[in-house]
């Protein structure tokens, strides 16, 4: 909390409840550039709600969210990209009617400058920008090694490729912070390895906040962990510290520590 001047995301004492049920109770955490922070906890602990508050889908009853020294007040989801925050969705949230490259290009909406008139009249101002964005999107697809699917429709592609497309889209706005909502769900062991490398690679350019059930992945890539249970932070610190915390073990007691989620199981949630 004292780090608010140094940049990054600072979530301070957030409380929110739905219909009398407290979903988050005084939750605080921070993510700084160059850092991977994981949020873990049993189902219903409030992880996704936390993301939704940061993104502006849900308004907290109290508490503040500060990003790069500026407090986010009554912000809307679409303001986020411009502010430098990106988010991937738990499912993939790709648009079935757009090709992969168009999906990724749409991620650059916040940096696009061409106005309505230049788009309507097809002026160079608009078309030049389009080629620039397309170029950038193809580069990103190349970096994520899915360039060959650029002109395909995403919902016809394997799940892993859809997830990468979604990641590419989130990276298009060149964020300072990226929120990853269960990036590992539905991926095979080999794909997990690659994902881990990818996320660590992101660290050079931005802060990463992820919600994940897959403990091996979390433990291996996160710099810090925050553990939520029933809407409260019950532990935080390095992976080793958290693993050693008895409260965490209790929280997970009685339910399997989830390892690999299948997309099918996810679909039902």
């Amino acid at each position: 909390m004292t780090n608010s001047e140094t940049g990054g995301l600072v979530v301070n004492e957030i409380t929110v409840s739905f219909g009398g049920l407290t979903a988050l109770d005084g939750v605080s955490l921070s993510v700084h550039a160059g850092e991977v922070v994981g949020v873990i906890g049993p189902n219903g602990a409030g992880k996704t709600t936390l993301f939704n508050i940061v993104c502006g889908f849900v308004r907290p009853e109290s508490g503040t969210i500060v990003f790069n020294g500026k407090q986010l007040r009554r912000h809307q989801p679409h303001d986020l990209a411009k502010a430098g925050i990106s988010r991937t969705l738990q499912g993939v949230g790709l648009w079935g009617g757009l090709t992969v490259v168009d999906n990724v290009m749409a991620g650059a909406q916040s940096t696009a400058r061409a106005d309505f008139a230049s788009a309507l009249f097809g002026l160079w101002r608009s078309s030049r920008e389009e080629s620039r964005i397309r170029q950038r999107a193809l580069e990103l697809l190349g970096e994520l090694r899915i360039a060959e699917y650029a002109n395909r429709y995403p919902l016809t592609l394997p799940y892993a490729i859809q997830k990468r497309t979604a990641l590419a889209r989130a990276l298009m706005c060149e964020p300072n912070l990226i929120l990853l909502d269960e990036p590992a769900s539905g991926l095979s062991e080999a794909e997990l390895q690659e994902l881990g490398k990818l996320i660590i690679g992101l660290r050079d350019k931005m802060g990463v906040l992820l919600v994940e059930h897959h403990m091996d992945l979390v433990m291996s890539i996160c710099d810090r962990l925050v553990v939520l249970n029933f809407g409260r932070v019950i532990a935080s610190g390095s992976p080793a510290e958290v693993q050693a915390n008895p409260d965490v073990t209790t929280a997970y007691l009685g339910q399997d520590i989830p390892t690999v989620d299948s997309p099918v199981a996810n679909a039902g949630s």
Binding site: T99, E148, N151, R152
Partner: protein, 459 residues
């Protein structure tokens, strides 16, 4: 290995598809395209040595589809004429197009009649808004727009010499009803219930010429739409009731007269009703609920209502015109043969016979101007089934300017139609006539035109 790129295939596909669209557009055009229809050798459009081509746009479907039996009856008269040698040796071909009572479609269909069917004249088309839409167009091209089935004052205007109406102008309707009210209900509070368009406005014009302004206590309007049905007329009828009007003059289309009567019954409101000739036929009002539901005082709601008509009712079988029309239409109009004659079919018969007489009067050398001249010169003498002669002259482009008043009566012989049994009517007083302008309402003393022998012997 190079992958098949679906995208490029699709882009090509899109191009192909675009091409196919273009080709199809051409194809459709080419198929439906046709030159000006069988260009006549004579200079007058729509007239050949052996034929005359006429057109009409009618609401065969849509909100005014009630009137869709008029044009077939007109056509039946032409079939009769054609079977007896045509007019001056020419067969009459009538094209009836459906305009659904929608002005934009009227415009399209009228363009088609003029540009493609190459009509000589537009005759007996129905509707005020629909015909107003094409009035500038037809007059601009000097195509006669004759005998429009509408009582709008707008058809007799020096600006549009090629237009003329058939129905009694609504202002004349209003004047005749107004003079009756002034005479028989003097001192009573009067209310108006009128349609919110030219029909209502013109009728009010006539009413105001006869009824003292001070006795009119409430003027209510409605919009002729299905929406008004559902919301009902409670507010308007309640307002009339609240104003204490003892006499209500209705310038409304038949269904709304029915709705008015039903609503008045609900409110326990029993004014003397005076109904414009547009809804003068109880069977057209067609609301047996209104006719049969006992009002609080035990009387049928429309019982005793005053209305008006320009000619005999179809159930007055003793009238020679009704007899001859029924006979002719039974032979040439399958609908009449099946279900018997309606008031609208009687109108259609009259209309067809008017067109026939006008064409005949225009002579062998048929031109558009010649037709107009013939109507201006002889129009007054054309035989008709109405109670007064036609008013046509070089300056007056109205058909009828007279009405017989009637009383709807539960004791008169009821009208029986396939759609139900309706109360009958009995005549009240003499036939009146007047012009839409200033001038008194006068009594017409002469008898109805005789049915010409040429018609009665061949029908």
């Amino acid at each position: 290995m190079k992958r098949f790129s679906l995208h490029s295939a699709r882009r090509r596909a899109r191009l192909y598809a675009t091409g196919v669209v273009a080709c199809a557009v051409v194809g459709t055009m080419a198929l439906t395209a046709s030159g000006p229809a069988n260009a006549a050798s004579v200079s007058t459009p729509g007239v050949t040595a052996t034929s005359i081509s006429l057109g009409a746009t009618e609401p065969l479907t849509g909100v005014a589809a009630n009137y869709n039996d008029i044009a077939p009856a007109m056509k039946a008269v032409f079939a009769w004429a054609n079977a007896h040698g045509g007019v001056n040796g020419r067969q009459i071909n009538l094209t009836i197009d459906d305009d659904q009572y929608t002005p934009s479609i009227t415009a399209t269909m009228t363009h088609q009649l003029v540009l493609q069917n190459n009509i000589f004249a537009d005759v007996g088309s129905l509707g005020t808004p629909t015909q107003l839409q094409v009035q500038p167009y037809l007059n601009g091209l000097k195509v006669p727009q004759l005998f429009i089935l509408s009582g709008c004052n707008c058809w007799s205007s020096s600006k549009y010499p090629y237009s003329s109406g058939l129905q009694t102008p609504y202002t004349v309707d209003g004047k005749i009803l107004g003079s009756y009210v002034a005479k028989n209900f003097s001192g009573e509070k009067v209310g108006y219930f009128t349609q919110d368009d030219e029909f209502g406005f013109d009728a009010i014009k006539g009413l105001n010429m006869e009824i003292k302004g001070s006795s009119v206590v409430s003027k209510q309007t409605y919009v002729a739409s299905t929406a008004a049905y559902v919301a009902g007329l409670q507010s308007q009828v309640a307002a009339l009731q609240a104003s204490g009007a003892k006499v209500v003059v209705l310038a409304a289309i038949p269904p709304f007269v029915g709705l008015f009567a039903t609503t008045a019954a609900t409110l326990g409101y029993t004014p003397q009703l005076v109904i414009d000739g547009v809804a003068g036929d109880p069977s057209a009002i067609g609301a047996p609920a209104a006719l049969t539901t006992p009002a609080p005082n035990g009387q049928a709601l429309l019982n005793g209502a005053i209305t008006e008509a320009g000619g005999a009712f179809e159930d007055q079988t003793s009238n020679p015109w009704v007899r001859v029309a029924t006979k002719l239409l039974t032979k040439y109009d399958s609908e009449v043969a099946k279900n018997g004659i309606t008031g609208d079919e009687l109108t259609g018969f009259n209309l067809g016979y008017l067109v026939y007489q006008a064409l005949k009067a225009a002579g062998k050398n048929l031109t558009r101007q010649g037709l107009l001249n013939a109507i201006a010169a002889d129009g007054k003498n054309f035989a008709n089934s109405g109670f007064v002669p036609y008013s046509y002259s070089s300056t007056v482009h109205f058909g009828f300017e007279g009405e017989q008043l009637y009383k709807m009566s539960a004791t008169a012989t009821p009208i029986t139609l396939p759609t139900g049994t309706f109360m009958g009517v009995t005549p009240v007083g003499p036939v009146y006539y007047t012009s839409p302008g200033a001038g008194p309402v006068k009594v017409w003393h002469s008898a109805q035109d005789k049915v010409p022998a040429s018609l009665s012997s061949t029908a």
